[in-house]
């Protein structure tokens, strides 16, 4: 009985919300914030940029909120066709031209993204034809839109989010008590090993190499890493190497192998000594 009542309530509620959507303004008056949008940017402005470029037929990729190469070429083609400086930057003039030439149905786009639908935003095509519902069901409008709107993220060239996550796990397991540069250093050693010909050629290979890392041997690698460890990994991937190209490190208080002391030492960071 109760469930029936609840169902009814939901039904009515969803109707009300659908109603509000219908009545509410179709077109959001404000467009783009003041920023100059450039390659690598993420966020709402990028979503609007992609949607407007798609409306005009320049952009055929996914509207995912990350200014990648596809968006870059689309923007340059737009600038070429509309007789502007071709610089791949969405500055004030370019944005104004875009706003004048295209329409942006923010409501529709954001809703599609929030629901995880596959959708497009081409001009002159009915909305219903541009979206494939993933979940299906009628009262989906009742679910509140989640905060995050980007369906893609930037990753460094050659790495996936999973690579970063795996490295963050290793860094956190090995060096969670260390200063920030000590964490970047551990990540850098992993990367130096990947590049070295005497170690495995993959991140996973280096991390799980038997007897290479104590955190792997005793299972500490499976602790959940914090954001700081992840940031340290990103810094290391982006080129920071506080170790000066080290391939080994050890804790002088707990190291049991005499061999490790024979390596030429580069420096000590926190509790770890880094060496070649």
């Amino acid at each position: 009985m109760i469930s029936k009542k609840r169902f009814f309530l939901c039904f009515i509620l969803s109707f009300m919300i659908v109603g509000i959507y219908e009545v509410g303004p179709k077109q959001n008056a404000e467009a783009f914030s003041n920023q100059v949008i450039q390659h690598g940017a993420v966020g709402d402005d990028v979503i609007e940029l992609q949607a407007r470029l798609q409306y005009l037929g320049f952009y055929n990729g996914k509207i995912d909120g990350v200014f990648g190469w596809g968006t870059y070429w689309a923007l340059r083609n737009f600038q070429y066709e509309f007789g502007q400086d071709i610089d791949g930057l969405a500055g004030q003039e370019t944005k104004q031209k875009l706003v004048d030439a295209s329409e942006y149905d923010e409501q529709f786009v954001k809703q599609q993204i929030a629901r995880g639908n596959k959708f497009t935003h081409y001009g002159g095509v009915e909305r219903e034809k541009q979206s494939t519902n993933r979940g299906g069901g009628g009262n989906e409008a009742a679910t509140p839109a989640p905060e995050t709107t980007n369906t893609a993220v930037n990753v460094p060239q050659g790495y996936s989010q999973n690579d970063i996550q795996l490295m963050a796990n290793a860094v956190y397991g090995e060096a969670r008590g260390e200063p920030y540069e000590g964490q970047v250093a551990v990540a850098a050693v992993i990367l130096n090993r990947v590049e070295s010909s005497t170690f495995p050629n993959t991140v996973a290979g280096v991390i799980f190499e038997p007897r290479a890392f104590t955190a792997v041997a005793d299972g500490q690698i499976w602790l959940t890493p914090n954001d700081r460890a992840r940031e340290a990994v990103l810094d290391a991937i982006n080129g920071w190497d506080p170790t000066g190209n080290a391939l080994y490190y050890f804790n002088p208080d707990t190291a049991t192998s005499a061999w490790i002391w024979t390596r030429p030492q580069i420096k000590q960071i926190g509790k770890h000594i880094f060496c070649k």
Binding site: G43, I207, K267, C275
Partner: protein
Amino acid sequence: MIRWILIGILTLGIAGTAFWGYQEHQEKNAILTQAENTYQRSFHELSYYMDLLHDEIGTALAMNSDQRLSPQMVEIWRLTSEASSNVGQLPLGLLPFNKTEEFLSNIGDFTYRTAVRNLDDEPLTEEETKTLQQYYKQSSEIEQELREVQHLALENNLRWMDVQLALVNNEEQLDNTIIDGLKTVEDKVGGYSEANIDSSVIGISNQQNEPYKSITGKKVSEQEALNIAKDLFEVKDSDKLTIAESGKGADIPIYSVSYNGDDKHAYTDISQQGGKPLSLLINRQINENKISLNEGLKKAEEYVNRLGFDDMIFFRSSEYGNTGAYSFLSSQDGVRIYPDAIEVKVALDNGDIMGITADNYYRNHKERDIPEPKVTKEEAKEMVNPNVDIQEEYLAVIDNDLGEEVLTYEFLGTYGDDTYRIFINALNGMEEKVEKLGGTEINYAIN
């Protein structure tokens, strides 16, 4: 009396058994962890090789049927064999994973056949190009499914030992993400009846030449280094600074200075000769974004100029959470010098510089003797795969596969939905390097 002795013996016996049991237990756990680690390694490597395989097939598509293509086919062939050996090591005896293996061996056969024949006399036929395109599409789907499984496995800390147990016990109700995920991968494949990390061109260090040639000047004292560090950290209190000298394993003698304040932590490496900051890292809480990636670029450019690097040109930018990462290359007579790279990190809440690394720059920078191109731009363009739509062009110095610096024409072009960076040697017209550009990925965390 006898009773007490008996009790004593028994207690000892129990304690001994307990100790022995505990040791056995420890050993068993150690072995389990080791087995688990082997499985984890195979799985993550498999996923990595599938990533790489997809990129390499894409790169092969953008190559011109020429000297470069044969080595590329060999590379793909090598990757398929690495990947299938990883599949073989997973505890999937009870889960049919043979279609994926078949897919891998199909690609392997195809690339082997094309690699061993002389592509100059018999270039890829149209049909073969189509096959390759199909492999490209299929490998993309497998790659994405595997990444999804990998993401779930990492997020939920899934254990392969559990998978194995579940498979052995054949539990019906089990909700096992790995098994479900891998079944999806397998279904995807059933439907069809090393760009490795160090091949990135930017900032590759040229080990043969004497490094850090560009660093000159007199040796600075510890006190001077501390002052330089204070400027870099933008702090005044000296008592929170610590300084250390590098050991004999370092490529160049440096001072490392760290600052441990209440609200921020900072670290820098300064060369002992000349007092040049090789790298700087600042760590603090970064709040919500207030400035755009583009405004951050202005700050980064200002900073690079302030540190006295001239002739630097902006190369690329990426927004990661609340920070912007910017790369700069040096430029000599309008030629982009890839080995001389500088990276800058800017906090996007207030535009503070969060770090710079100029190690590659100092290691490789020198006044270069850049020769005149012997191949014209038009001739170089003809060396590029005709399917690639060239959009931008530059002259660039890169390190080639042999580790030598070469002058090249750099072309940015598109093929299908992908963007490629292609380097053609400006002296002999060889295709030196083809790189498929990525940089974005589906956000698995929200799906």
